[in-house]
């Protein structure tokens, strides 16, 4: 197929132009233009309902854009002939609600798509899975079911699951918003180490300290448009727009959570039931 030149060279990991998305009569994205370079970490911030999740989900076509063009790792995903399953393998996604597969153990969560999609054999898939569980500090949890893990552990397994497909870029949709405050640090630490290793990341987050310390660029969205974007120092430190200032004043008011260190393998305690 002409549209899945997997190894074609590309300069921009994500390129979005003229993106519109409506749900019925509700226009949620009103013309978005932006791009993410290879190895870049971009944080998207903005008030609830501004369309951040929708933008992220348009990148891997979990939502079908109403108009506009989205190109990911050299493949135009909005092209009618695209084999979206092939493109999605190269895009890791981490959800606010983890979405681990509850009927599978942590290890099986990491191997199922490797086996079924990439057709790796069990030995190979297990090896990749174990390496990624180790990477998020959860080697001792490979036989645990999601319900037996804390929220923070579940989210780290979810990150490891996405990494096991060896994606070229990662999308994060508020990965720490569903977590108890004391579990946020472990997840952010994993994300920070990923960024340090050069992973391309597009992160929707309310964690301003993470955005400030890890992001190469911050995008502020409101009402379905990008209001401003730039370096974290500029957007978070010295916002140009009134709407940005109002938003930041609100989210920065409570003492911002610290970005934690790389987690040890010890459990963080609390069990979280779905």
């Amino acid at each position: 197929m002409a549209t899945d030149k997997v190894s074609a060279p590309y300069s921009r990991a994500i390129e979005v132009s003229g993106l519109h998305k409506s749900f019925g009569a509700l226009e949620v994205l009103k013309g978005i233009d932006f791009s993410v370079g290879r190895g870049e970490v971009v944080c998207v911030i903005g008030p609830s309902g501004s369309g951040k999740s929708t933008l992220l989900r348009c990148v891997n076509l979990l939502e079908e854009p109403t108009a506009g063009k989205v190109t990911v790792a050299g493949t135009e995903v909005t092209h009618p002939d695209v084999d979206i399953d092939r493109v999605r393998r190269r895009i890791g996604m981490v959800f606010q609600s983890f979405n681990l597969f509850p009927h599978l153990t942590a290890l099986e969560n990491l191997t199922i798509a490797q086996r079924r999609v990439l057709r790796r054999d069990k030995t190979g898939a297990d090896k990749v899975a174990r390496a990624n569980l180790a990477r998020v500090g959860l080697s001792d949890k490979e036989d645990s079911y999601p319900a037996q893990l804390s929220g923070g552990q579940q989210q780290r397994v979810a990150i490891a699951r996405a990494l096991s497909m060896e994606p070229e870029l990662m999308l994060f949709d508020e990965p720490t918003s569903a977590l108890d405050p004391e579990l946020v640090g472990d997840v952010l630490a994993v994300m920070r180490s990923l960024a340090d290793e050069g992973m391309t990341m597009l992160v929707v987050t309310h964690e301003m300290s993470f955005a400030r310390e890890v992001a190469d660029r911050v995008v502020f969205m409101d009402g379905g448009v990008i209001v401003e974007e730039g370096s974290p120092e500029r957007v978070v430190g010295d916002p140009q727009h009134e709407r940005t200032r109002t938003f930041l004043a609100r989210v920065l008011d409570p003492a911002a959570a610290e970005v934690g260190e790389v987690p040890d393998t010890g459990p963080s305690g609390k069990r979280v039931d779905r």
């Binding site: 399953d85 999605r88 393998r89 979405n99 597969f101 798509a113 079924r116 999609v117 699951r161 497909m165």
Partner: protein, 261 residues
Amino acid sequence: MSLSKRQRTRVIRGSQYALLAAIVAVVALVADWGQLRRAFFDVGIARELFPGILATALVNTVLYTLLGFGFGLVLGLILALMRLSSVPPYRWIAVTYIEFFRGVPALLVFIALGFGVPLAFEVALDQYVTVMLSLGLVGAAYMAETIRAGILAVPKGQTEAARSLGMSHGRAMVSIVIPQAFRIVLPPLTNELILLTKDSSLVYLLGLSLGQYELANFGRDALNEYKSLTPILVAGLLYLVITLPLGHLVRRLEARTAKAR
């Protein structure tokens, strides 16, 4: 009358007990216990029923039920997926099938397959196949609706996570959604198994050979032989031997599901 509310309640309850005691006393005095015992539970007859009723009848009841359940489960899953299909004709076919087979008596389906098909098509279906088809066709209609509800009960995030890993729609269904759906519908499916156990007695219609007798047929046959209701009672008790543990299992499964929520 100056009875307080509480006293009145007590009087009413007392008279209910009195009435019950009176009825029991009358029945005990009037009834011919010897006759009743001979009719319903003649130990001699009951003893003669064994082990045939276990080795043939009980085994066949279980076998027919499982054949029907297995076929119904597969067909029910296919129907559930058709019902959820984005292709409208598939949905129409599934809906029509489900409405039809839930609406007509199972008895009619047995007659159609047991007598109608062999006459109309001049084929002789194996009895076990007839039973499997008849029970399965009816069971599938109920199971399809149950399975569909189970599939819909799996959170949308599960499909999204699967698709975001590059799984196709079908692969996500097979590996992620359907296994979870079956966990959710395990209790109602077990209930369906109980209903099928009882419906398997309709096999009685088909005129089976001795070796193919299931509990109802066996009981009916022995009734003619012994002129006693004992075989019917024993057959009924043996149905309970199957259905009561299954019912207990359903409640355990339901409790487990409730706890996992």
